[in-house]
Symmetry: C2
Subunit: 439 residues, 2 copies
């Protein structure tokens, strides 16, 4: 078999056989396929698509390209959540302790932020001392003892995905459903889960702006999870504005801890609501509770009693972080930063927000990465006070920007102002946080 | 500008701007585009096509990536021919001396064979001592003195094409008209021609099996040539069986010399007819004769008087070859080879020939290249006695195979037998040698 034959078949709109897909994935890892051959096939897949069976076969081969983790020593149901990424998307830090407090465990393998989106690992590292690089033994130990553990992808998990993702990023072949499904699911399935909740974002701050495309992705992810024997559900959720109030790593961790402490500001309410709903679905899906309604009650109780906060404290301590942030979240703030009020240039109602642009503005002051090797300033960020539907005065605050120096602030502030659309009339409808459940 | 933006535009079906195309071609040569980015764009072009103006812009940038030859010191009209390649396609060796004998000159820059097709350089090297690697000064001198000179592509001509062709070959993005047009024309336009005749092959031994596709290619080539101020015409010709009798380098050179000596076997007749027609069109196109009819008369006369043979003799001598082959073409044959009669397994009429398979069978015994770095045995080959329409007995000869050892012969012979379709009825129509003239 030669790469050319495989490329030709997909180029001509045909269906690749399981053997051809295996040959491709092995070849990507071994180097038997040259990068330029892989990228030609990726473009052909982008333009000609893949059938459901090709997609599942690709997922399986990518999964098999690496190690499948074994948590059989932890006698709890294993459940994880994956989000397709957004701005201010911080639910992992709330829901993992919630699920752990409800008797399931969450072996969460997370990523870093890139471009306009944040990443869970970056947020956790805003906690002084927190270590996300654990070896598997330590990860397993913390998982069993605390109920959740957080770490970065290891070299041994789905190495084909790592290689292919870098190629897709350089060749504009990222945004295609079968490749996204295989990339996400090959990593998630490697964590040996019983159940998986997916948070598929749609809107101005999501990779999938288009709701129909996002729905198609959610369906592909759910079908693939089930096919591999993992109980899988997806929520299709709104990303037409930053989720909650905080955008920026330390500010986001503080928002999560505030929520777990029962101190939830109005602007942070969607974070609480979505985290609770995702946690309840995770608890029900993995069988730690018999029904979704019962799971919701249990999750709310774990939040109100402070049990979830306690789980977070134990996790932070176990992973080397300063647990005092759980008692005094203001410790996360850097008071030497400049606080700049971002003001609306006109009076009216916020009708739309380019959430990706808000994310990029925060990245531009050091809060995120433009390139993968950029370093991050965990403290900078933006607190979005005005959301879609908010009435603002001319010169009224859209939010507060925290930055290292005033020169940076000016440009970032202007970008955020431009990302807000303020009209004369209030928007006819407000974004619905959870648009659909795909089971 | 970044490669990603250019890839994205073509991926999404858009039209690339002249600046984007220039950025791509420069980037291919400079290395600013990674190979995997170039191949992703090539696949997007393969699947989404190019407009005529993109195609012409790509041709121009590829042409400009290298040197344009200057033959202004040679005071004759310059005209060349390009064939899209086939099996037994040897017209260059007949038509170049014919055109030179008619008062125009032919600065022919040729290629080597790959896969089922032969290449003019390989055929010439079947003549003992013949040198195809000339420097430009020597090439120009022979051109002026003899009226035609033959050499291989230099590093300085269209270097972007060399790089892109290698990528296309490895990524199944060869057979797409705008890329073929740009590849052929960027090299041909670099030879500073007044006129160009194109021989676009269609059929089982051509790259373009499909006649409509071949016609589309011919039109693209002619339009592009004209656009660059070169008088250009194309013949759409049949490649549903080997052209003439000989397949294999020395055998083909002998067939050409036989024709120039007035010794044309029936099976070689199509080589003579097509060479004369192409030569006449070249002579008329470049203005060396006032009309096509007058050019035909002149070309026939050059053939009959032996003037063309004399030109070939002078060229062979000038390029270091043994000119005695022109007097005694049998000198080209290697009498130590095994001659194997390839026999039909049944009686009937030849209704079809897989000409590419005949070419591959000859390549398999050393007469061609499977890979670009294979060496060639100039002497081996096949003489096709049975052509479409020929009546054969069971056990009757389809042709004669010449090979180095009997073991090779068996497999090659079986491939050739399988490439012939012999039916009970004669074919309803015979292939028409020249299907269409595109001006």
């Amino acid at each position: 078999m030669r790469p050319q034959g495989v490329i030709r078949r997909k180029r001509d709109g045909g269906e690749l056989s399981p053997r051809e897909i295996a040959f491709f994935v092995h070849g990507v890892v071994s180097g038997a396929w040259a990068d330029y051959q892989s990228s030609a096939l990726l473009m052909a897949i982008f333009l000609n698509g893949m059938t459901e069976s090709e997609q599942q076969c690709l997922t399986e081969e990518m999964l098999r390209s690496g190690e499948v983790l074994d948590f059989s020593g932890v006698p709890l149901a294993k459940v994880d959540k994956h989000s397709t990424g957004g701005v201010g998307d911080k639910t992992s830090l709330v829901l993992a302790p919630l699920v752990a407090a409800c008797g399931a465990c969450v072996p969460m393998i997370s990523g870093r932020g890139l471009g306009h989106t944040g990443g869970t690992l970056d947020k956790l590292e805003a906690i002084k001392g927190y270590r996300v690089q654990l070896d598997l033994k330590e990860f397993r130990e913390i998982l069993g003892r605390v109920g959740f553990a957080m770490m970065g992808q290891t070299e041994s998990i789905a190495p084909a995905d790592k290689k292919l993702y870098a190629l897709r990023d350089a060749t504009e072949t990222v945004e295609v459903i079968p490749l996204i499904v295989a990339s996400i699911m090959s990593k998630k399935l490697a964590a040996g889960l019983d159940a998986l909740a997916l948070d598929v974002k749609t809107g101005t701050g999501a990779f999938m702006h288009d709701e129909d495309k996002a729905r198609e992705l959610a369906r592909g992810l759910v079908a693939t999870g089930k096919r591999f024997g993992v109980k899988t559900e997806a929520l299709l959720t709104d990303m037409n504005q930053p989720l909650g109030r905080a955008v920026g790593n330390a500010l986001e961790v503080k928002e999560c801890i505030d929520i777990l402490r029962g101190d939830c500001q109005d602007a942070a309410r969607p974070v609480r609501d979505l985290s609770v709903e995702l946690a309840a679905r995770m608890v029900a899906l993995c069988g730690a509770e018999g029904s979704l309604d019962a799971a919701r009650v249990k999750v709310e109780r774990a939040l109100e009693t402070g049990e979830a906060l306690e789980r977070l404290r134990r996790n932070v301590e176990a992973q080397g972080g300063d647990p005092r942030v759980c008692d005094d979240p203001a410790r996360l703030l850097d008071l030497t930063l400049h606080e700049v009020r971002v003001e609306s240039v006109r009076a009216g109602f916020v009708t739309a927000i380019d959430a990706a642009e808000v994310g990029r503005a925060v990245a531009s002051i050091g809060g995120g990465r433009i390139r993968m090797d950029d370093s991050i300033d965990p403290s900078v960020g933006f607190l979005a006070d005005a959301k879609i539907g908010t009435e603002v005065e001319a010169g009224g605050a859209l939010g507060l920007l925290y930055c290292r120096n005033p020169a940076d602030a000016e440009e970032a502030s202007a970008r955020i102002v431009a990302a807000y659309t303020v009209g004369d009339e209030p928007p006819r409808t407000l974004p619905e946080l959870i648009k659909e459940v795909i089971t």
